[in-house]
């Protein structure tokens, strides 16, 4: 898959840094709109509610956007995202297993802070195992790995379905509430933990930007340039697993958001330098969520459709990318 699938005349007119600043400005405007449109009644109370939601949108969008760029560089492919390789199904599977083993009541009464940390931790370990497994078989051919990832997703989903059939209805209700991404009612403790984690991980990723640029040249070139490629891959995958696990544990699965953000970031900045790409993609991920939520909640007055629309649009983009890649 070549980098220039989405080549366009637009980016010729803008330097990468300027494009990033433009995205940041759009995001700032979107945040202002989100906070201020349709304010009435007890303004202080509403602003506080909105601020928490906005923080969740920013953290999740930024985390997933950055993670996807890292993941795509390691995978040497612009179509792959953690979500497409079965991460969402893994999340569902782990949620179901936790409810199953702890019982619905035990699961619901766990302290939110520790529960969040446990979920994130379990998912990080499982995701590293899954990605590691997939990447070991990758050398041979990419499409087989993709299909394997998708089918592992189907398998995990079916297993989760099987366990859900064995549960009490009350336990099932607990699982069901975790199945769809929702930004309403995000726990503030969890949000704080996630924000701190992101504040640690994003600079780490940014610090690796130079190494990532070398990795993007391919394994052989990277080795030739003196980079311990396999070890670097493991390090990046750990960061990806942490970011994605954290975001998913916070609000639930949004599989195609990362694909949208990363594709747009490559398209708008037109650079291969990760020092620009990582922040651009993080900003874009956050901007997509904030704009989408503003439009749906304030303008259209709908609560639940954002996740569905992102899935739908992202799915179409995925198909387009696959087909364009095939035509090359």
């Amino acid at each position: 898959m070549q980098a220039d699938i989405l080549a366009s005349p637009l980016r010729m007119t803008m330097t990468p840094t300027r494009a990033t600043w433009l995205i940041a400005t759009v995001l700032a405007l979107a945040c202002t709109a989100f906070m201020t449109v349709g304010l009435s009644g007890r303004i202080g109370f509403i602003l506080e509610l909105r601020a928490v939601k906005l923080a969740a949108l920013l953290v999740v969008g930024g985390g997933i956007g950055a993670a996807t760029v890292l993941f795509q560089t390691v995978a040497a492919n612009r179509i792959l995202t953690p979500g497409i390789l079965g991460f969402d199904a893994l999340f569902l599977f782990i949620q179901t297993t936790l409810v199953m083993s702890l019982g619905g009541l035990g699961f619901a009464t766990l302290n939110t802070g520790p529960k969040f940390l446990i979920e994130t931790g379990v998912m990080m370990v499982a995701a590293s195992a899954l990605f590691g497994l997939l990447f070991r078989t990758r050398r041979a051919d990419l499409s087989r790995m993709l299909l394997t990832g998708v089918i592992i997703g189907v398998l995990l989903r079916s297993l989760a379905g099987l366990m859900q059939r064995l549960m009490d209805p009350s336990e099932f209700a607990v699982v069901q509430s975790a199945m769809f991404a929702s930004f309403n009612g995000v726990e503030r403790t969890n949000l704080a933990i996630a924000a701190v984690l992101f504040a640690v991980i994003l600079p780490l990723a940014q610090a690796m930007a130079g190494r990532l640029d070398v990795m993007a040249l391919g394994r052989r070139n990277a080795l030739g340039l003196g980079l311990d490629h396999d070890r670097a891959v493991l390090g990046v995958l750990a960061l990806v697993a942490a970011l994605t696990a954290c975001a998913t544990a916070l609000v639930g699965p949004i599989s195609f958001l990362g694909l949208l953000a990363a594709s747009l970031a490559h398209h708008l900045t037109g650079t291969h330098r990760h020092a620009v790409l990582i922040p651009a993609s993080a900003l874009l991920g956050a901007a997509i969520l904030v704009i989408g939520q503003t439009v749906f909640e304030r303008v259209l007055g709908q609560q639940s459709s954002l996740a569905v629309i992102i899935e739908f649009g992202g799915g179409l983009l995925f198909l387009t990318l696959v087909l364009k890649g095939m035509l090359k």
Partner: protein
């Protein structure tokens, strides 16, 4: 009579007897009544459904010339569900035959969309075909879910999405005989199917009307899928794993392998139904869920062993 055929017959007989003996209530005074009203129809439904879906998978694989396609990875099943949703909305009281026809038409639409998508695809990469099919199915499925959500029909959709034999009674499954009949017709035209699998140019050179064969074959697949979805709900992966396993054992001469494929599909579905009935007796796990787990696991194995490599495409 090949050896795999004889083994399949023996396995199937044992499973059928087991299926007749297992259930929530005991076989006592009313045994005959229970058997004729519930157990026998249920066993027959599982056999017919498994055989028909496995054969539909083979037909699909020959027409598309790819080993990894079947109705649930090409948008056919999701198309049938969409059709059912729409007809349920327009005419809730329509007779089942009308609903079935609507589902079959929509299933045909689903598979036509899939074919249009892969038409632009280079056939060099056999794994991309099912991948695109899965995404296409996902988009259709998301559309169906969204639609059902707005029309308050999510529960109906759930029934069609997961195949389940627990509602099968005498008088409620007979449409499946039609699916079985279509599978039998496929055996009569096995040679034509084999030739179709060689590709359009070679098929024409051998004197086959390739276009017509495609139309008939796709029509048969859509009809079988619609029949199964209407009567018991979707049963995924049967059409994919059974033909692949059989072809590893016996090669690709459909005249020889089709009967084994049909028996194997029947055995897989009936076996899954029995497991679903036993796993949490006296409650039941739907067959669609059990087949989903088993089928995905077998598919992964097929995909990542050496055989999948050399046979792909």
């Amino acid at each position: 009579m090949t050896r795999p055929f004889i083994i399949a017959v023996i396995v199937l007989t044992c499973l059928s007897v087991l299926s007749l003996l297992i259930g929530a209530s005991r076989l006592d005074g009313n045994a005959l009544h229970l058997l004729t009203i519930s157990r026998a129809p249920r066993t027959l439904a599982a056999l017919l459904c498994g055989a028909a879906m496995a054969v539909a998978g083979v037909i699909m694989q020959q027409l598309v010339r790819n080993r990894f396609v079947e109705p649930s990875t090409t948008g056919t099943t999701e198309g049938a569900m969409l059709g059912l949703l729409i007809i349920t909305l327009i005419a809730p009281g329509a007779p089942v035959i009308v609903k079935m026809s609507a589902a079959a038409l929509a299933a045909l639409g689903g598979v036509a969309g899939f074919l249009a998508l892969i038409h632009r695809l280079s056939p060099r990469d056999p794994f991309m075909v099912p991948l695109i099919g899965l995404i296409w199915s996902g988009i259709l499925g998301a559309g169906a879910t969204w639609f059902a959500w707005h029309a308050d029909l999510v529960q109906y959709l759930g029934n069609w999405m997961t195949g389940d034999f627990s509602g099968v009674l005498a008088g409620r499954y007979e449409l499946l005989w039609l699916a079985g009949g279509i599978a039998a017709l496929a055996y009569i035209s096995a040679d034509a199917l084999t030739v179709t699998g060689l590709g359009a140019a070679r098929a024409r050179a051998l004197g086959l009307d390739h276009r017509r064969a495609m139309q008939l074959g796709l029509g048969a697949v859509a009809l079988v899928t619609a029949l199964v979805v209407v009567t018991v709900g979707a049963v995924p992966f049967v059409g994919l794993v059974v033909p692949n396993l059989v072809s590893r054992l016996m090669g690709d001469n459909l005249r020889r392998t089709l009967p084994v494929v049909a028996l194997g599909g029947a055995a897989l579905v009936l076996g899954a139904d029995i497991v679903g009935r036993l796993i949490r007796w006296p409650y039941e796990i739907p067959v669609g869920t059990v087949v989903g787990v088993a089928g995905a696991a077998i598919f992964l194995w097929i995909l990542n062993t050496r055989g999948g490599h050399s046979h792909a495409g």
